[in-house]
Amino acid sequence: MGQADSTSATCNTDDRRNLAWFIDKAVQVLVFIAGISAIVFIIGIFVFITKEGVGFILKSNYALSESVFNLLEDQKMPEDQLDAITVLEGKKFSTAEDLLKAVEGIIGVEAAGPYKEVLIEKSHDQPFHVKSFFTSPKWAPTSEIKPVYGTLALMVGTASVTGLAMLIAIPFSLGAAIYIGEFATGRKREFLKILVELLAAIPSVVWGFVGLSMLNPLIIKLFNVPIGLNVLNAGVILGLMAAPIMTTIAEDALKAVPDRYREAAEAMGATRWQIIFKVVVPAARHGLVAAVLLGVGRGFGETMAVLMATGHSINLPTSIFDSVRAMTATIAAELGEAAVGSDHYRALFTLGILLFLITFMINLSADLILRGVRKE
């Protein structure tokens, strides 16, 4: 009996929660909070953007627009009554009945009677039209007469700049990755890697500055065009911006190819060129595609540099010397000006959703392709 007591006593002294135990618990809690809050913030932002944007998409209201006035005139509404209800012009009502009531409040129920049909059926006003949103090149959200929210020109602007940027960045970055990963050795290699990572860290406004003040006059002089802020300028800037990141990822992909593949091919009498293009690049192809896709994602998401270098004018470009406007730049430039809650404000959020969906798809496919690598 006494022996059992002494054993349990030793157990109790050993079984103390010491400092290490508390630190461990505290760290676990801290990390958990940090991790959860990151996820919560991301979901919160997503919900916020979606709420505003979807609100715009689904928004429908009733107002006395110019066309309604014209119809009323056609229906022989007396001048004085027409004049009286102009105070309602532009005012938005959430249901047709509200609108009707407001009109009746001004000119009287009886007088409004004959125009009931027009007021209810023709006053419906929906700012978001699926078709014009995607196919109209006209983005005129601040128009006094009739705002138009067509994103085609903006999408084409972003796509043309990104496309040109990729034409420049892909050969450069893959070439650089192959040189750093396969040819450079020792210090030269380390130096180049650091340099490339340094390039990736240049803020985008600095790139925009380069486009605005260096490339702009250069393009005007070289190609004899009136304006140097155009697809070419932004494409070059964006290409130079995306290349370092793509180089880093592509180089990682090449490094992940085991050296024994290279040795085996080398022993077979393959030349450096053959080793790289018949063995190393095919083995690293998933990583290389992912690098390119991440570069494309970067191109779509980049804002400041394209805002400064594209010329920021709404345009369907016919040549690389046309100025365009990018989706991101539009949001950045206009959101501060738009009245909170207005159609314009909400339309910008819808544009944001579109942009988010595009970059999400690109990044998702890059991720899936990279996962494919790991499984093999």
Binding site: T185, G186, R260, Y261, E263, A264, A265, E266, A267, M268, G269, A270, T271, R272, Q274, K278, V279, P282, A283, E376
Partner: protein
């Protein structure tokens, strides 16, 4: 005369006073011996004794590896390998099999067809013939003939090693160098590959680097012992294993007293 088959055959590889360095550190020195045609030349010795470095040197792997350099003279077919202007053509004549099977991330077929393709063979019929012949010589054809289009890396370890041998044979080498090929292979497959090597010996010279003393005894006509970067002894395998050794260290190694 049958016990000295190599003496009748012309010399394939002459190695005289070769030393190999990595970043100025000497890993192997004083290597001198000849390898004859139709001979299996065994190289035994513990790890880090310079065996693999020697093979890499013969294949001029130092060219792509700035840290590696060698002195001394190696002649292949009577010509100094340093004077070989197109190193790729030298490597095509010398097949190498590495310790761990390297199934390139290609199909079984493409693994074997790669070297002929690189050499410019494009006709499918020709490639088919080469692939079948090489796989058959490596004793692998019967096992993989129905799955030529599956990935080489999906084969078992022993099959992959024979695939590597088939690949080394696909360029019709005049000399085959095997570096501890049985490390990742089960004993049964090892015996099969050993039978393959005995057949191949009729057509080419073979340098067999092995960590298994008994493997050298079974296969090699002559054997060299590498120890801590120097060649302790080169002699007829039968002599070495019947106690006719000149250096006590050789006897100790063969008896398993160290290494």
């Amino acid at each position: 005369m049958d016990s000295l088959p190599h003496k009748n055959n012309p010399v394939k590889l002459e190695v005289s006073d070769v030393a190999v360095r990595y970043d100025g550190r000497t890993v192997l020195s004083g290597v001198t011996f000849d390898v004859h045609e139709h001979e299996i030349f065994g190289i035994i010795g513990p790890a880090n004794s310079g065996k693999t470095s020697f093979l890499k040197t013969v294949n001029r792997m130092d060219i792509f590896n700035p840290a590696m350099s060698f002195t001394g003279r190696i002649r292949f077919n009577g010509k100094d390998i340093r004077k070989w202007r197109n190193v790729y053509s030298l490597r095509k004549r010398i097949g190498v099999v590495f310790p761990l099977p390297v199934g390139l991330p290609l199909t079984v077929y493409e693994n074997v067809a790669l070297a002929p393709r690189l050499a410019g063979v494009t006709r499918r019929v020709e490639l088919d013939i080469i692939v079948e012949r090489c796989l058959a010589r490596a004793a692998l054809w019967d096992e993989v003939k129905d799955r030529l289009d599956s990935l080489g890396s999906l084969l078992s370890g022993g099959q992959q090693q024979r695939l590597t041998i088939a690949r080394a044979l696909s360029q019709d080498p005049e000399m085959l160098m095997l570096d501890e090929f049985s490390i990742a292979v089960d004993p049964v497959t090892t015996m099969r590959i050993e039978d393959v090597l005995k057949e191949l010996k009729k057509e080419m010279s073979i340098i067999l680097v092995t960590n298994l003393v008994q493997q050298a005894r079974r296969l090699a006509d002559r054997t060299a012992l590498f120890l801590n970067g120097e060649v302790v002894e080169v002699g007829l395998t039968d002599d070495l294993f019947s106690g006719l050794v000149q250096d006590q260290r050789t006897q100790d190694y063969l008896d398993g007293r160290f290494g």
